[in-house]
């Protein structure tokens, strides 16, 4: 490994969250502030220790608003990463870059939204087509026809994937069943105590065929915050640090936001870019992962991610996920918090928190002997990922 590496130069010291609901009853800024305070309390730091803040687009609370609200001092680093949920792990990457280079010492990544009681992401994103920039121009070739919801854009890819590799809807359903099984034993999950069967998945109504309702993640209200600092400082704090063994972003050739339909393969090569970089930075590989948190906004993307990340060959994910392989006790448990189908949809930030809990050994659904956890952000868009290690 060359001298120029990010691996091992930063750690996640604290995690925090609000409750996850469908109607928080308070503003998004308040939710974010609550989550930041919770994360700082988790590791024993105060708002005065924070000198950096990172979030990502589609968050309505600015970094300076959070800093003002919490009475923070000088900020030496602040960043807002593009492409919505694809940036979740990117926030930690940028925080890690900042602390690794001494640009900042304690950076908090946050995401807070009323994404169910307020502006629902599952509905038509009129603003996305109305924005006067290149993204708005890109959407001119999809939205006016009616291709204008996240589920529909994924359904286009899913149908082709099924055609090419022989996957069927029930293969996607295996992801939903695993997520809901894990959520069922997680008291913080919205679907706590509510597992589903594959039959219920198959019987759920069509949203954008071939996607059923239960292939789509929830819409949630809530917030999550992650505290990043140096491994040395983290070691002196309250919790066992989750070392950032790798942190990567990825965009592939001819990349669009949810509609990368014009390249040869209309799958999700952007997460392949992330995967290769994560393995390169960490020196680890798929076999080193006892579990993974794979961003599950839509179930087909989880199968495609398993392939892009090298857990199985192209077209083999439908067999990989069979027979409980991705459930607790299986070959590669996924999304042990319940994922975004089961716990909550906080744009991937709750998945990072679960990765940290697995490293600490405090998950409600612990996987034995976890040394490394892979966490990914939203795909179909320019994306990101992390490997957290003990």
């Amino acid at each position: 490994m060359s001298e120029r590496t990010l691996s091992g130069k930063a750690a996640i010291a604290g995690i925090g969250a609000t409750e996850f609901s469908k109607a928080s009853g308070r503003t998004e800024l308040q939710l974010s502030c609550e989550a930041v305070l919770d994360a700082l309390a988790d590791c024993g730091l105060s708002t005065k220790d924070v000198d950096g803040l990172v979030t990502f687009t589609m968050d309505n609370s600015s970094e300076i608003a959070v800093a003002r609200e919490l009475g923070m001092g000088d900020l030496r680093f602040f960043s807002r990463i593009n492409y919505g949920g694809g940036a979740a792990c990117g926030t930690v990457q940028q925080a890690a870059l900042a602390v690794a280079t001494g640009v900042a010492d304690v950076v908090v990544c946050y995401r807070g939204f009323n994404e169910r009681s307020g502006d629902r992401f599952g509905q038509v994103s009129q603003w996305a087509a109305a924005q006067v920039n290149t993204n708005g121009l890109d959407n001119a070739f999809t939205y006016p026809y009616g291709l204008s919801t996240p589920a529909a854009t994924v359904a286009m890819q899913a149908q082709r994937y099924m055609h090419e590799y022989g996957a069927v809807s029930a293969d996607f359903g295996a992801v939903a069943v695993a997520d809901r099984k894990h959520a069922a034993t997680n008291p913080k999950a919205f679907f706590h105590g509510k597992p589903i069967t594959i039959e219920e998945h198959q019987a759920s109504r069509m949203i954008a065929a071939p996607l059923h309702l239960l292939d789509c993640c929830q819409e949630s209200d809530g917030a999550v915050a992650i505290v990043v600092t140096t491994p040395e400082r983290a070691a002196d704090l309250k919790q066992k640090p989750a070392i950032i063994a790798a942190a990567a972003q990825g965009s592939a050739p001819d990349q669009y936001v949810m509609t990368s339909y014009y390249r040869d393969d209309i799958g999700i090569p952007e997460i392949g870019v992330v995967g290769r970089e994560l393995w390169r930075q960490s020196g680890l590989g798929p076999a080193d992962m006892a579990m993974a948190v794979l961003y599950d906004h839509f179930t087909p993307y989880v199968l495609m991610q398993l392939e892009e990340l090298g857990f199985c060959g192209r077209g083999e994910a439908k067999d990989f996920v069979k027979d409980g392989a991705i459930e607790l006790g299986g070959r590669l448990p996924l999304n042990t918090h319940g994922g975004q189908l089961g716990e909550a949809y906080i744009h991937g930030m709750n998945g990072i928190a679960e990765g940290v809990r697995q490293i600490r050994g405090t998950s409600v659904n612990p996987v034995p002997d976890v040394q490394n956890v892979l966490v990914t952000a939203g795909t179909g868009v320019p994306t990101s990922g992390l490997i957290l290690s003990v």
Binding site: G136, N139, F141, G146, M156, Q159, R160, A208, A209, Y261
Partner: protein, 301 residues
Amino acid sequence: MSTAEWTHDDIMAAVEEIKALGESEPKPARDPINQPMINNWLEAIGETDPRYTSGEAPPAMAQVWTMDGLDHTKRAAAPLHRTMQIFDEAGFKSVLGTNCDQVYLRPVEVGEHVTLSARLDSVVGPKVTGVGEGYFVTTENTWRVGDEVVATMSFRVLKFKPGARKPAVDKTRLVRPQMNQDTAYFWEGTALGELRIQKCNACGELRHPPGPMCPTCHAADRGYVVASGKGTVFSFLVHHAPQLPGKELPITLALIELEEGLRMVGEVQGGRESIAIGSPVQVAFEKIDDDLTLAQWAVVE
């Protein structure tokens, strides 16, 4: 006049003639109010009120007494029947009852003999409705015993042309495309019925969606070719939920691989039953309004 020759003014003029006739001559019921008919009605409705087995007729039977029976000639002079004939001839052949408001002024009794008079009250239209374009026809009906009014009824039907269905949504409310000088040629093309594909004037590479610079040779000198409009379905989905502005669900959306080797998103009209990956399709331009025409697709049989 043949169907094609009837104008709105013709219809309304003929209607005015019927309205001018006013109330029709009182037409006596075939039979006086009688217990056997009341008993049939009570049995059919499930009514058990003892008043109706001791000489009083149920008020809701008002219309029963003056039914025409099977002899169509008996109703020939009725204003409603005459109005219906006008609309049949004008091509509005379907009928749908929409309102029936009855008022009972006093109970009638076994042995009394009612008459029915009717007049055409109003004709309103043309209206575009959920079942088709048509006219609302309202008649006022009056039942009397001698000169005494015992019941009235305002009766409204819709006479319509089926098939001319009102769109459930206003398609002009769809999400509008952003355009700029790099992309305007595409939309100018669809307005003219041309499916235009950007072409690099330097290296000849075709491209969609368009942009200012050729990704291959970096030339900014660009033009376009007009595509054949033939392609195949590369992938597709059927959108069921949520509601989309300007669209009537479900709709089939597809990624079309053009004969020229590029891909383009569009709706495959009526594609839900017949579409598959590989289905041949042909472009079918859909004019939304003067500002926007979409390149949509139809399955080639």
